[in-house]
Amino acid sequence: MGDTTTTSDDEAPSGATAASTARAPFAPWDRRDLPGMFSVAETARRVGNYKWTEMKLFEALGGWIATVPELDIKMRLGAHCYHHAWHADLWNQRLPELREMKPERLTVPANDAIVRFIAAMTEPEAPELTIEKLVGVYRVLIPRFISAYTYHRNNTSEITDAPTIRSINFILQDEFDDWRDGEMMLQSLITTPEDVQRAASHQAKLETIMVEAGGITGPGSIGGSSSDGF
């Protein structure tokens, strides 16, 4: 290379002109942007909160399997239990990449209210309380996961934090699928005005604690700081 007297092996095919391979680093259709709202430390904090909450969720789903008499729901809880364990694992693997070499140090709840939320969500145990169990997971917690993950994905740097985005995309697919499963199970269980009341009052009770918590990662889970204009 660099030799002006090229051998026949390096010559372009007869009659052809060698085309340049120099291109812009980003193709015209690649509109990813560099700026992001989160520093490494802030990303790690959020990821730690995600992991803690996903763990609490898969533990709850696993524990409830033995407590629900409805066979189809029992089996769905088993499948969903693994989905959330896998999410926790993805976040556990991400933490060291975010300079947290002891992942358990950041595997914490966002605040005390989230701890109270989990306690309230996992309180129902009796076999006749399937509606309450499902409402807590599928009408309160998973919608909060979907919103927190969506906010994170849409506001982090598409270039520097691509690994987090990739995980979130996989996770969100599960969250949407599980939410749909859960909502359909609930709709099949809620068949009387009394059931509606039960579901709504339990949802309101849990939502109140979640609002106090500010979401999965605390206040700012989906933005909401004054600079956002909300």
Binding site: A66, T67, P69, A85, E125
Partner: protein
């Protein structure tokens, strides 16, 4: 939700009726086909093994499939409870490693699929959900409050039993030419070998620096294995209903010595059960003669 969940509270719909080992052992009838009733000692159906050439093959296969299904439900519940009951930690005391919790969640998904498969197979074989009594011995015996004992009880003893039973059912499906049974059992067997291996690996790892704890866990496993031999229904001996699936057990981390021990437990249990049945039947005859 409580940390530990008692077997008597396992939630079921009204179709399911549960029983336990004490009730089953109180049944003094002979569970084995008397040798005098068999057409030929050389026939495949001469023993108690489930083979298609038994006159009662279809109904026994249906009953066994239902037993597998409720066993899978209990295994699903057991795996879910292990994911729930113990905090993530270094494995000491009431804690288990984070990765072990993840494995238990994965196992819960696998067992959920096995329930789905078993329910579909039950339908294929003409069995209704809850048609047969559910023995809760699997959850009761396997779900200890000590996480290491649970690994021994659930992942090695219970799932080891599943390997033996699935191998038997796979062979039955193959011989009968049933296109679904053999296929499904083959897939479930693959999962069970994974679960037993998981248990073997974790048991070794968690008790690495605590030989006493390991010994206690293996002793507990023997107790559960004897219980799971169901009065000698499992083992290499002629009268057993299920043969030990030694090749798959080896893949799952059982040593030859361990398999020999399980086989011996089966023979012991068979002899004890035979003696108990004989005593009960002598007593019944005496009553009838009177």
């Amino acid at each position: 939700m409580r940390q530990f969940f008692p077997v008597e509270d396992l939630a079921r719909d009204e179709r399911f009726v549960q029983t336990n080992m004490a009730e089953r052992l109180a049944d003094t009838r002979n569970p084995m086909e008397p040798a005098s009733n068999r057409k030929s000692a050389k026939s495949r159906s001469a023993g108690n093994r489930l083979t298609p050439d038994r006159p009662d093959a279809s109904d026994r296969a249906r009953g066994l499939m239902h037993g597998i299904m409720v066993g899978e439900i209990q295994a699903l519940e057991g795996a879910g409870r292990t994911a729930h009951d113990f905090e993530a930690g270094d494995g000491s005391g009431d804690t288990i490693p984070f990765e072990l919790k993840l494995d238990m969640a994965r196992q819960a998904w696998d067992e959920a699929r096995h329930v789905e498969i078993s329910a579909k197979l039950g339908d294929w074989m003409g069995t209704e959900l809850g048609e047969f009594q559910e023995n809760t011995v699997l959850f009761e015996a396997a779900c200890s409050n000590d996480p290491v004992l649970r690994l021994a009880g659930v992942n090695r003893a219970l799932e080891g039993l599943a390997i033996d039973v699935f191998t038997q059912m796979k062979e039955f499906g193959d011989l009968a030419g049933d296109p679904y049974l053999e296929f499904c059992e083959d897939w479930m067997l693959a999962d069970e070998v994974t679960h037993v291996k998981m248990g073997s690996d974790w048991l070794r790892k968690v008790t690495e620096k605590d030989p006493d704890r390991r010994t206690k866990a293996l002793e507990f496993q023997q107790v559960v294995d004897k219980l799971f031999s169901f009065g000698g229904a499992r083992g290499d001996h002629e009268e057993s209903s299920f043969k030990l699936a030694r090749r798959f057990r080896e893949l799952a981390g059982f040593t030859d010595d361990e398999n020999d021990t399980i086989n011996k437990l089966g023979v012991d249990a068979f002899n004890e059960r035979s003696q108990a049945v004989k005593q009960a039947q002598d007593a019944a005859s005496a009553f009838a003669d009177a």
